[in-house]
């Protein structure tokens, strides 16, 4: 067992029994999360991110394959895992009729933290989460962002080596999201905590140092965000056509165009040679009376890479079928 590997799965499969047969939610996922890493499991809704997290934690049984955390098997050492990891469920709720302090103390005691340790840790933890001024407020009266911070504080109170966060910033405003991610950054730097986070947000994926891209129960790519972006061939052009639909129909058939994605009123176009193809596209569209506003080359972001990889995956799947 590699000491540096904190979370690992091998050909993990999870099927749910439904009326007529079984639905495969996880279809042979193999992943590894190394110590101190922030691993982002990204993918669209329904890709199997939550199910994967739950199986790793032993909250759901697995159908086949292996999964373990800190060397403990997800199914056999359920309670040993629960003593050593922190977790924020996606649709989580802390008891809303308990105050911030009561919540943290409840989770501390359930996690077996002694009273002396509680006195030492809890003020620091609340300070860290920015909740020091709200200790007597009922959890249900907190804003969405503060609820998430409280959940993080509760999941960290037993000082776990690894935390698993399932879409922790779902339904939170952009400022609070940024604050939450800054907390995660502090956590990794100061304590070396391993963080496993599921998220559909691409900007959050950029903040991870390793990304697993999940789609329809499979891990279709996993690497650093930089490498993932390089997986998409070609370079990216962005512009705003004066007449969107005809432009969107026309551009894919032009020479040198590898892929076309829409981005609001803009088109994102992967091409082999940005200078040359940019001019060609402008000319071709101009022939149809369409002008191109703000034609420029941009850096490929996770969002474009993500869409591109998923498209290829589903195209490959339909070819195979």
């Amino acid at each position: 067992m590699d000491e540096q590997v904190v979370i690992s799965t091998q050909n993990l499969v999870k099927q749910f029994q439904v009326k007529d047969g079984a639905v495969t939610a996880i279809d042979g996922v193999t992943l590894q999360v190394r110590r101190g890493e922030t691993y982002g499991l990204i993918g669209p809704d329904g890709a199997g991110k939550t199910t994967t997290t739950r199986v790793i934690l032993g909250l759901l049984t697995r159908t086949s394959g292996q999964s373990s955390i800190l060397g403990h098997d997800s199914m056999r050492d359920t309670y040993r895992i629960r003593e050593r990891v922190g977790y924020i469920a996606q649709q989580f709720a802390l008891p809303g009729d308990l105050t911030v302090m009561e919540n943290v103390r409840f989770f501390a005691r359930v996690q077996g933290v002694s009273s002396a340790e509680q006195r030492r840790r809890i003020p620091d933890l609340l300070e860290f989460a920015g909740l020091s001024g709200f200790t007597d407020r009922l959890a249900s009266r907190l804003s969405g962002g503060m609820k998430k911070k409280l959940a993080l504080a509760c999941s960290l109170v037993h000082e776990p080596q690894v935390v698993l966060l399932d879409e922790p910033t779902l339904g939170v405003d952009p400022v609070s999201r940024r604050e939450f991610w800054n907390l995660l950054g502090d956590l990794r730097r100061e304590r070396g905590t391993t963080i496993f986070v599921c998220t559909p947000y691409m900007d959050e994926a950029e903040r991870c140092n390793w990304v697993g891209l999940m789609y329809e129960g499979r891990l279709i790519a996993h690497d650093s965000p930089g490498k993932i972006k390089q997986m998409v061939p070609g370079r990216l052009l962005e512009f705003k056509p004066s007449d969107f639909v005809p432009a969107w129909r026309l551009v894919p058939d032009l020479p040198g165009v590898l892929e076309v994605q829409t981005y609001g009123a803009m088109l994102h176009i992967f091409v082999d040679d940005p200078d040359r193809r940019g001019r060609e596209i402008e000319a071709a569209l101009a022939a149809q009376g369409i002008t191109c506003e703000g034609m420029r080359e941009i850096e490929t972001r996770m969002e474009e890479a993500f869409i591109s990889l998923i498209r290829k995956q589903s195209a490959g799947a339909s070819d195979a079928a």
Binding site: L59, T61, F92, L94, P95, L98, V110, G112
Partner: protein, 391 residues
């Protein structure tokens, strides 16, 4: 040594977890003021309802008298009926026809028809009087029937009872003449004081509905809110979560029990004839069976609404089947079998045994045994079904 230390640490953590869960549940119960006040006031409210609104016996029934004898004996008989407290003579009429007319018009609910030569018939021991009761009012019928019968018994005379009602007459087959037998229903309730009969049963029903409802909704609410997943990921064991939920509700149920008993004794004057300690212990047993049943329901109910519906169903079953109001003897076997699945059925008998009759355990060991087995089974089954995983 290491092993012993580990065990000690394990035990310490177990206690820490359990006390954390108990404390959390207690805070949550205390903080939900509205529900708490309702839980504590409901029993008192229901007792007043039973005492003053849904009284099972009816007295001071407005009555019409048709006395064809008008002699000393007939007047004395009517006087005895009035003295029983069950009949108020509102009017004197000429004959049976007018009595029935008065009942039909709703001016009275009962009529007494005394034939001519009543005194002479009494002397010969063959006196007959006719009591006519409004068949559309079941409570008046049963009260008037047994009251008139009791009076007639003391006069050693025959009595004919007839029920009439525009609605009821046909179904009763018109005139029914019943030879009267001694009523046995009032053996432990000679003054017909309903509360003596009602309070012990009410304790059983109130505790039953409360424990089932509290336990079921406490679990289902957390699952609905998503709290369960967040607590499930802690090292808390299912049995600790179950016990943690049961303890504060157990305390609450004991308080409710005490409120009802004390109100029964000091307000309604219900005598407590048996041993208070055995009553407390058996209540605890009964409360545990109810909480266990509630937890079991929580494993079936998906939403709070479902949990409440099931609790309501239990409330109805309790009212109808446990012998609180209606005797269980005449129930058909299937209904009886259903009532045997409700813990309150046993506790109604136990409570009446201890409070009203003052009998000891030896008279109701079978009911106690059933409750013990019941409690163990529901708690164990719900602990086994209370999963440590989500699927």
């Amino acid at each position: 040594m290491r092993g012993v230390d580990n065990m000690r640490e394990g035990l310490r953590n177990r206690i820490r977890r359990l006390s954390a869960i108990i404390q959390k549940e207690a805070i949550q119960i205390l903080r939900d003021r509205g529900t708490l006040v309702m839980l504590l006031l409901m029993p008192v409210l229901e007792m007043f309802l039973f005492a003053y609104a849904v009284s099972l016996t009816v007295d001071h029934i407005p009555t019409a008298v048709a006395d064809a004898s008008m002699d000393a004996q007939s007047r004395a008989f009517v006087g005895a009926l009035v003295a029983s407290g069950y009949f108020d003579i509102d009017m004197y009429v000429a004959d049976e026809t007018q009595v029935i007319q008065a009942i039909d018009e709703g001016r009275v609910k009962a009529g007494i028809v005394i034939p001519p030569n009543f005194a002479a018939q009494i002397e010969r021991g063959e006196a007959q009087a006719l009591v006519i009761l409004d068949g559309s009012d079941a409570a008046s019928v049963s009260s008037g029937y047994s009251a008139a019968n009791a009076v007639a018994q003391s006069w050693a005379m025959g009595l004919t009872v007839e029920k009439v009602a525009r609605v009821g007459a046909a179904s009763l087959g018109g005139d029914i003449s019943l030879p009267i037998r001694t009523s046995t229903r009032v053996l432990y309730n000679p003054d017909r004081d309903d509360m003596i009969f009602i309070v012990p049963g009410l304790i059983a029903i109130l505790l039953q509905v409360m424990t089932i409802g509290q336990a079921a909704t406490a679990v289902v609410r957390e699952r609905e809110l998503g709290v369960t997943e967040q607590i499930l990921i802690t090292p808390a064991r299912p049995i600790e979560l179950l016990i943690g939920k049961m303890v504060p509700n157990l305390v609450l149920a004991v308080i409710v029990m005490l409120i009802v008993v004390l109100f029964g004794i000091f307000w309604f004057g219900v005598p407590f004839k048996g041993n208070p300690w055995s009553f407390v212990w058996l209540s605890l047993l009964f409360i545990i069976s109810g909480l266990g049943l509630g937890l079991l329901i929580s494993t079936v109910a998906k939403t709070q609404r479902q949990a409440r519906q099931i609790t309501l169903l239990f409330m109805l079953l309790c009212m109808l089947l446990t012998g609180l109001i209606y005797p269980r003897q005449p129930m058909p076997p299937i209904v009886k079998a259903v009532s045997n699945l409700i813990p309150a059925t046993y506790f109604v008998r136990i409570a009446r045994g201890i409070i009203t009759k003052g009998v000891g355990l030896s008279f109701m060991w079978a009911d106690v045994l059933v409750l013990v087995v019941y409690s163990v089974v529901v708690v164990v089954v719900s602990a086994l079904t209370f999963k440590k995983r989500l699927d």
